[in-house]
């Protein structure tokens, strides 16, 4: 069996293409359950916050640590015993950033922080997507656009909007990431 230079170039192109696609889809598959989990958190916490604005903090105080533990368990299941540590570090960094930002900006309207957090998340998805794959970019852009639409166009029902539409966007994004 002898190969020409053209055969070799074509074979290497196939190798690169298949390898990159496999790696990208694996990353998508790994991220999918996290998106679905946080979509559920958004759906419950924002919707609860709409109907019971005074107790909204309670829903977040319970659901956010629970989801962080869920993230760690998913990471451990999918990637091995010590893989929860980066998740804990990222989560702690994110909470510290949000608390610090809130302390500095001191928003007057709860909707301001409720819009700011998903906008930060959306930005992170877009940035990640630039390195990992365009499905993250699209999910991030969709979440950001929905957040801005709800905040500026549907302010009176913003929390409900984020619960139903924002939560659904993340859940659907998660299922989309699972697909080949």
């Amino acid at each position: 069996m002898s190969l020409s230079r053209e055969d070799a170039a074509e074979a290497l192109r196939l190798v690169t293409q298949a390898g990159q696609r496999s790696a990208t889809l694996r990353r998508y598959q790994g991220a999918a359950p996290h998106l679905i989990l946080w979509g559920c958190v958004y759906a419950v916490a924002y919707t609860f916050g709409y109907f019971r604005p005074q107790q909204a903090w309670l829903a977040w105080a319970i659901l956010v640590p629970a989801a962080a533990i869920g993230d760690a368990l998913i990471a451990r299941r999918d990637r091995g015993a010590n893989s929860w540590r980066p998740f804990l570090a990222i989560f702690t960094l994110f909470v510290a950033f949000i608390v610090s930002t809130g302390a500095i900006m001191q928003p007057r309207d709860p909707a301001q922080m409720s819009a700011f957090i998903p906008l930060v998340v959306a930005t992170v998805y877009v940035a990640l997507g630039m390195a990992i794959g365009r499905r993250f970019v699209i999910t991030g852009v969709a979440l950001g656009a929905l957040t801005l639409t709800g905040f500026f166009a549907l302010h009176s029902i913003f929390m409900l909007w984020m619960g139903i539409v924002g939560g659904a966007a993340l859940i659907l994004g998660g299922f989309w990431l699972k697909r080949v």
Binding site: L14, A18, S22, V180
Partner: protein, 104 residues
């Protein structure tokens, strides 16, 4: 390496190996997922996987999940080495094709 790996070089087998080689060590991929990624038919993919398994390049594991049959495939250490050697051969062919070697 003076010759290509004839088991790996066939187009679909090459793509199967590249797909599995992108996974971390010992990680398996379901048959249905490989089929979807590569856009291959059941029969074609099954036949080429059997060839790769016969060469010891992949391992095929069959079990049941919720009473449904599941087939998972992993690349073996032998398969990774053979794939790496084949890719090295291809790159060498591009960098230094046989005609230029003769001309020298």
């Amino acid at each position: 390496m003076d010759a290509p790996d004839e088991v790996i070089h066939q187009s679909l087998r090459l793509r199967i190996m590249a797909t599995l080689n992108a996974l971390p060590k010992a990680e398996k991929m379901e048959f249905t997922r490989i089929r979807a990624i590569l856009g291959a038919s059941d029969g074609n993919l099954g036949a080429h996987l059997a060839t790769l398994e016969g060469a010891g390049y992949v391992s095929v594991e069959k079990d049941f999940v919720a009473r449904k049959p599941r087939t998972r495939i992993a690349i073996t250490a032998k398969g990774r080495n053979a794939f790496a050697r084949h890719v090295t051969y291809l790159r060498a062919l591009l960098d230094d094709p046989p005609t230029s070697r003769v001309a020298e």
